[in-house]
Amino acid sequence: MIELIRTLTETYGPAGNETRIRQVLRDMVKGKVDELKVDALGNLIALRKGKGGRKVMLAAHMDEIGIVVNYVDEKGFLRFSALGGVFPHTLLGNRVEFENGVVGVIGVEKLESPDKVPTFDKLYIDVGAESREDCPVKVGDIGVFSRPLIAQGQRLIAKAFDDRIGCAVLVKLLEEIGDCEHDLYIVFTVQEELGLRGAVTSAYGIAPDVGIAVDVTRTGDTPEAPKMAVALGKGPAVKVKDARMISHPGVRQALIRAAEQNGIPYQLEVLEGGTTDAAAIQLTREGIPTGVISIPCRYIHTPSEMVDLRDVENAVRLLLAYLSSKELTE
């Protein structure tokens, strides 16, 4: 499983340019599904047929946050904007990598004070170019954090666990699930970080009976962290509410029942900020009963996100247990 997660987190795939990660995922699920297609926005949709049960959409987003080059100056330095929720304090002294393999260092014009985080307009990227003409990066190119995965005991550290860890859970699910009652539409969505865009169109196209998003959530278990009753290693979280949605009570209950009947540890999640593809899926057409399984994750949207492998494995078990039931809502 770690190798699967390594491949997924280390692959380039920012929001709006998911070609490469889509190819990797396509290769991973090929042969395990009955149909495989890509829609107009670039969502990868895999169908594994069931035995006449419900239509279930399982979504994990394959895009990651990054930065977009908006200007190359005369001397070959790059100015950039945040693509999704990237914050300046995670960038200083950091490296980004472009699709063509070029690596850039983030610099700051001048540090006004070590206590103050500079704003984006004071930052630039240095790829070592000597002029605009010889710069190997152009306006519109997207860089992502450049970090390898590290496994330390049960704890994993990498960029882009948000939401490649969700992708890993769904790939693993396809490997392990045997016969299933339900039609499973496994969707690796695009552009979640830009406003759940891939989920909007893929959910419309599929028109599922039930939707489940698999994504990461924050934890409250680090020193002086803002209060939150979710901790690393205590099991996947079943979402009750986030900033944009309240999970369908019936789906939430069914997930809890699946966990309790199968002795799978789980936590309940009430997230103050942020949301997932589920918020978009829920509002599709006439409304879709939708829930979320969250992988607890520290330091989300930084180059060093941290998850616990046991939570990941238990998320797979939880999904398997949930989908083995005929009734998907209570």
């Binding site: 803002p226 949605m245 309940l268 829920q282 409304g287």
Partner: protein, 344 residues
């Protein structure tokens, strides 16, 4: 119908956005008296259909949201309950408020904080932020743990009371006053003829971002829609330029969110029947279900009636019962006259 009695039942029922089952039962009971069909959709919208006489089966959707703002359990600490907010809660009103925690069974509680005696003079002048507040249900830690879980909803416990004249006060008048107006409209319609099919919808999750309206409008695919919500009534600290007057009838909104011919028809009928009405100019997003419904599918001509309301988003929202009745009456007459739209 006794407007106050219906409003009281609706107001006192719990129904925080995302968990409307308490109030939706009351709505269903009231709608049932007048409609031909009744259903609840995947997001919890209660949809009543009162069939028209035809000949064509054109549909008008009336939308008033039944969800209310409230709280949710975020963590349990030594038997005290920490919470997050659902919808736009004014931190100033929280301290000392009575609530009901919807655990395994409903538990009465109060919102508490450090007593004033232990506060510094500066702290006394500051609003206590919600992360320093907690709900105390008065039970030992083990019992709280057994009865309450993270994610349980918490609603305000406020009585609905009559004030002087035709004024009333209570919680969740935003927007159950409009649900009461819907019931009032349905009652009038049961004595009137109407050609169009009427879909009376008590929407869910408006306070979470118009979520119930989005899906119910899609499901109904109406030819016309009128949302009913509350508007800022004249009250302390607000200028005439930014308010409508309580007791002077519903406001008929004007702005990009509203279909001009639909609005004008409503105005004409109000004038003809001498139903007092006001004008409310809304230059952009109305923040009401009308905003979502107007752009459902291929677009829906939409209007908005606002019932003037004081102290919005507090447990002591205050309004005039007559304004509710006038709103119901105007809606009923509009519907009974409805033939072609747009009128030629």
């Amino acid at each position: 119908m006794n407007t106050f009695e219906v409003l009281k039942k609706l107001s006192e029922a719990p129904g925080v956005a995302g968990n409307e089952s308490g109030v939706s039962q009351i709505v269903a009971e009231e709608f049932k008296k007048y409609v031909d069909e009744l259903r609840t959709d995947a997001l919890g919208n209660v949809i009543g259909l009162k069939k028209g006489t035809g000949p064509s089966s054109r549909r008008i959707m009336l939308a008033a949201h039944m969800d209310e703002i409230g709280l949710m359990v975020s963590e349990i600490e030594k038997g005290f309950i920490r919470f997050t907010t659902v919808g736009g809660i004014d931190d100033r009103i929280l301290l000392g408020q009575e609530v009901i925690v919807h655990g395994l069974k409903p538990l009465p509680g109060i919102i508490a904080s450090k007593p004033p005696h232990l506060l510094s003079p500066e702290e006394r002048k500051k609003v206590t932020p919600k992360d320093q507040l907690f709900v105390d249900v008065g039970l030992p830690e083990e019992e709280v743990k057994a009865l309450v879980r993270v994610g349980d909803f918490i609603s305000f416990a406020a009585k609905c009371v009559r004030l002087q004249g035709d004024m009333a006060s209570g919680k969740a008048f935003d927007d159950r006053a409009s649900v009461a107006a819907l019931v009032c409209c349905l009652e009038h319609l049961s004595q009137m003829k109407h050609r169009w099919d009427v879909y009376a919808v008590a929407t869910s999750q408006e306070e979470m971002g118009l979520r119930g309206a989005v899906v119910s409008a899609y499901g109904i695919a109406p030819d016309l829609a009128i949302a009913i919500d509350v508007g800022f009534g004249d009250s302390l600290g607000l200028s005439d330029a930014e308010t409508i007057k309580v007791g002077k009838g519903p406001a008929i909104a004007i702005g990009p969110n509203f279909h001009p011919a639909l609005r004008e028809t409503l105005v004409k009928i109000a004038q003809e029947l001498e139903i007092p009405y006001q004008t409310e100019a809304i230059p952009g997003p109305s923040g009401t279900d009308a905003w979502a419904i107007q752009v459902s599918r291929e677009g829906v001509p939409t209007a908005l009636l606002s019932i003037p309301l004081r102290y919005m988003h507090t447990p002591v929202e205050t309004l005039s019962l007559k304004d509710i009745e006038r709103t119901g009456l105007l809606l009923a007459h509009f519907i009974s006259r409805l033939e072609k739209f747009p009128p030629e």
